[in-house]
């Protein structure tokens, strides 16, 4: 009896995790999938999500890589503070993130008057979607990249330096290729998180079709009218999530093979 219990518990856990996904896939016939994806709600959400997540990923790489590099190279109180700050958005509830974004960039927010004077209004625009995605997803990348940079052998960088390599060459020829696994994993996780962003986007950017209605918001909206696009988009998102996992898994396998002499 005691030996069976853990097995039953494990099977129950599997069932809880698998049943919803199975239900989603089983309830969506192939024809329904095509119909659902042709729905105007689905098309515009797909387009918007693709645009906003690639923009936020680009910004994450552009701004997050130097931060991760700095964090890895300068351990100390400032780095620890930055590290904590970077981890916060991962654990803060999305609704709180949305409110915080509003209080920072809203018309009456902290930077509202400043943005107003420049003639910019952020809330309820596509830019707000990008900002919300950046806020919730960049931490995944920065953490992963910084961890990879920390693992670098200092001597390799000093050898490169003794061979005449300046900062850019040391980074792009030595540091980045040797940290590629952590960097790619971080980028993929961060992108997946941005794609799934719901709460902060809803609060800070609203739910306007074609402007701020991303995939998760479109699924939520479709639920009230037509279930087909909701199901079709959900299946697409599960497939994308699976693809990301497989890509990362394959990366790990490749890494292991390469590491063998």
């Amino acid at each position: 009896m005691l030996r069976v219990l853990p097995v039953v518990a494990a099977l129950l856990m599997i069932a809880v995790l698998a049943t919803p996904l199975l239900a989603l896939v089983l309830s969506t016939a192939p024809g329904e999938l095509v119909d659902g994806l042709r729905h105007p709600l689905a098309l515009s959400a797909l387009r918007l999500s693709l645009f906003t997540t690639s923009t936020s990923l680009g910004l994450t790489l552009l701004l997050g890589t130097p931060l991760a590099w700095w964090m890895a190279r300068h351990p100390g109180p400032a780095e620890r503070a930055a590290s904590t700050l970077v981890q916060l958005p991962i654990v803060v509830p999305p609704a709180v993130s949305g409110l915080a974004l509003l209080l920072a960039f809203g018309r009456r927010g902290l930077l509202g008057p400043l943005l107003d004077r420049a003639g910019w209004t952020l809330p309820f625009t596509t830019a707000a979607v990008v900002l919300a995605e950046l806020f919730v997803s960049a931490p995944f990348y920065v953490q992963s990249a910084a961890a990879a940079f920390r693992r670098l052998d200092e001597d390799l960088l000093w050898v490169a330096r003794s061979l005449g390599a300046g900062p850019a060459r040391r980074f792009f020829r030595v540091a980045l290729p040797l940290s590629r696994h952590g960097v790619v994993t971080g980028a993929a996780l961060s992108w997946a998180r941005a794609l799934g962003e719901f709460g902060a986007t809803l609060m800070f950017a609203g739910n306007l079709q074609g402007r701020t209605q991303t995939l998760p918001l479109a699924i939520y909206t479709a639920l009230e009218t037509d279930l087909r696009p909701a199901k079709a988009l959900s299946v697409v998102m599960v497939a994308v999530a699976l693809a990301v996992l497989l890509l990362l898994g394959r990366g790990t396998v490749l890494e292991a093979v390469r590491a063998r002499p």
Partner: protein
């Protein structure tokens, strides 16, 4: 010609030396923690120097009084660290021409690999090399960048006894032929004698003595030196 006077303070350890190295190999010996690796890293620019200067072939690399310090990438000082630190993602040829880009760099790297008998390994990754081969590639990589001085941190220590014997000959030959000063940190009297150049004994962050290998053997200047020489005599 490499002239230096340095005071380095690191986690309570003080290295205070004044040394001059002429063309050819110099052996750097001393107990663990005497400051040998720290000295090499200070010349490289990898550890902060509190006070002093470094002059290489008349070019000042560091002068704390004037607040000047040439960045590591412009010092023209080659380095072969203890575990060689080959770039694992680059081939032997790519490792070797890392310091010199372009066709001229590749040609130079090819020539150095040829000279050290490594031409057949050019397309291999460091992971597929033996210990002795790695050591030679690390040396080739440093030489291909045409340094004005060369620093080697226990270049043979990571090798098994047999490989060490065969690799030593090539290393010593190469260093003696070079028209630049080379500093070789070692724990082996055999290396000291093979190199044939002056022996600097470093103890507790200070230069205890500078001698010829023969003088060092004839009258070892310290307890550590006596043990080093005795260990060698017992072996032979």
């Amino acid at each position: 010609m490499l002239d230096l006077e340095l005071e380095v303070v690191r986690d309570g350890f003080v290295l205070e030396v004044s040394l001059s190295f002429s063309v050819g190999p110099t052996a750097l010996v001393g107990p663990n923690g005497a400051g040998k690796s720290t000295l090499l890293r200070a010349i490289l620019g990898a550890v902060p120097v509190r006070r002093g200067h470094i002059v290489l072939d008349g070019r000042t690399l560091l002068d704390t009084r004037r607040g000047m310090s040439v960045p590591g990438e412009e010092r023209c000082v080659g380095w072969v660290p203890q575990e060689y630190a080959l770039f694992p993602h680059l081939s032997v040829l790519e490792n070797t021409c890392f310091g010199r880009a372009g066709a001229a760099g590749r040609a130079r790297a090819g020539a150095v690999l040829d000279q050290l008998g490594l031409a057949s390994l050019a397309s291999r990754r460091p992971g597929a090399l033996s210990g002795g081969e790695r050591q030679k590639v690390a040396l080739a990589r440093a030489l291909a960048a045409e340094p004005r001085a060369l620093l080697l941190d226990e270049p043979l220590a990571a090798l098994d006894a047999d490989t060490r014997e065969t690799t030593r000959g090539l290393l010593v030959d190469t260093l003696r032929r070079l028209a630049i000063p080379s500093l070789v940190v070692t724990h082996e009297m055999r290396d000291v004698l093979a190199l044939g150049g002056p022996v600097v004994l470093l103890e507790a962050g200070r230069v205890r003595s500078t001698a010829s290998p023969e003088g060092f053997c004839a009258s070892p200047p310290s307890e550590f030196a006596r043990a080093l020489v005795k260990g060698y005599v017992q072996l032979t």
